[in-house]
């Protein structure tokens, strides 16, 4: 009965989607947008692409949208991640110590050596990705996820070693504070929260784009430590 009703609902939803998307085929706006014929759409994307390098100094337009034009949304996203990590810590703290069903056998020598060899390389690569976020594809979230993958390698292959829980928490809190502090500094200097108050420099060089590299370093460290803390708590860390 439940399956039948669900299938009917899904068919109705699929029919509705097919009817509404029939008018707008995929990728068809290319020629019309450049010719200026699409005047009923508000073309923010076109404005950001044409003016982005002059106004923010970052050559990666997605970075200038994420931290320059829409920086407040990124602050909200960092706050959501923090709330989820705190909620997970609170729920799992009350669940008591981990009673994993199958105790893993210790990793073999090949896995152990490989994990120990790869861990600093992954940390270095993740740091490279978020430091160069305003020049190449990448940024804070991607670099932070790579750092969290490096932390995951410790749990997978390093024979019982665990992360320094306190160091992770301190780094994460300080990075979050750094993000908000940069925003408040913008408020103090220019009158707008997260204003780009440092000089934008010349494009394609590392020290350009104002506050964007600084905020990316803070976001990368925060996301990496946060996801690493989530992994640590789910894998049975005490704490």
């Amino acid at each position: 009965m439940r399956k039948l009703i669900s299938l009917v609902v899904l068919l109705a939803v699929a029919a509705g989607l097919a009817l509404s998307l029939h008018r707008g085929p995929f990728g068809a706006e290319g020629a019309k947008a450049e010719a200026g014929l699409d005047s009923d759409k508000v073309n923010f994307g076109r404005y950001y692409v044409h003016e982005g390098v002059k106004e923010t100094g970052a050559t990666n337009i997605v970075s200038s949208v994420v931290l320059g034009y829409r920086g407040f949304d990124t602050l909200g996203e960092v706050a959501v991640l923090f709330i989820a990590a705190t909620g997970l810590a609170a729920v799992l703290h009350l669940a008591g110590p981990s009673r994993g069903k199958r105790d893993a056998e210790p990793a073999s020598l090949v896995v152990f050596t490989g994990c120990r060899f790869l861990f600093p390389l992954l940390l270095l690569f993740g740091t490279y990705v978020f430091v160069h976020g305003h020049l190449t594809p990448g940024g804070g979230f991607q670099g932070g996820a790579m750092i969290a993958s490096a932390f995951l390698l410790i749990y997978l292959g390093c024979r019982g070693r665990a992360l320094n829980e306190k160091g992770l928490r301190v780094t994460e809190s300080l990075s979050g504070l750094a993000f908000v502090a940069v925003g408040l500094a913008g408020l103090a200097v220019g009158g707008a929260f997260l204003l780009n108050f440092l000089p934008t420099g010349s494009p394609y060089s590392l020290f350009s784009a104002g506050i964007i590299p600084i905020v990316y370093v803070a976001v990368g460290l925060k996301v990496g430590c946060e996801l690493g803390g989530i992994i640590d708590r789910l894998a049975g860390g005490a704490g």
């Binding site: 439940r2 990666n60 069903k101 990705v129 990448g138 996820a145 993958s149």
Partner: protein, 84 residues
């Protein structure tokens, strides 16, 4: 090029159907990682390299690890369900 993207979409849909029908939860999680991987490659073909990197690192790596840790602490097999 469009034939290759069609192939990727078909593999993604097949992996999603397998994830929906698998009884062993480990198989379902690995199929979910396959869906994320195909989505990451399609993101690259849609000229979005930042999103492709984020989806590959987070979707195909960390989500799978979080699921496996959670399955280790709960059940492994989905019981047979009866339609009610």
């Amino acid at each position: 090029m469009i034939v290759f993207q069609t192939l990727l979409v078909l593999v993604m849909i097949t992996a999603a159907v397998f994830a929906a029908r698998a009884r062993d939860l480990m198989n379902a999680v690995i199929a979910c990682a396959m869906v994320s991987l195909m989505a990451s490659i399609i993101f690259y073909f849609l000229q979005a390299p930042d999103v492709a990197m984020a989806e590959a690192a987070i979707g195909a790596g960390l989500t799978t690890a979080i699921f496996i840790f959670a399955i280790n602490r709960t059940v492994r097999h989905e019981k047979d369900e009866k339609a009610d």
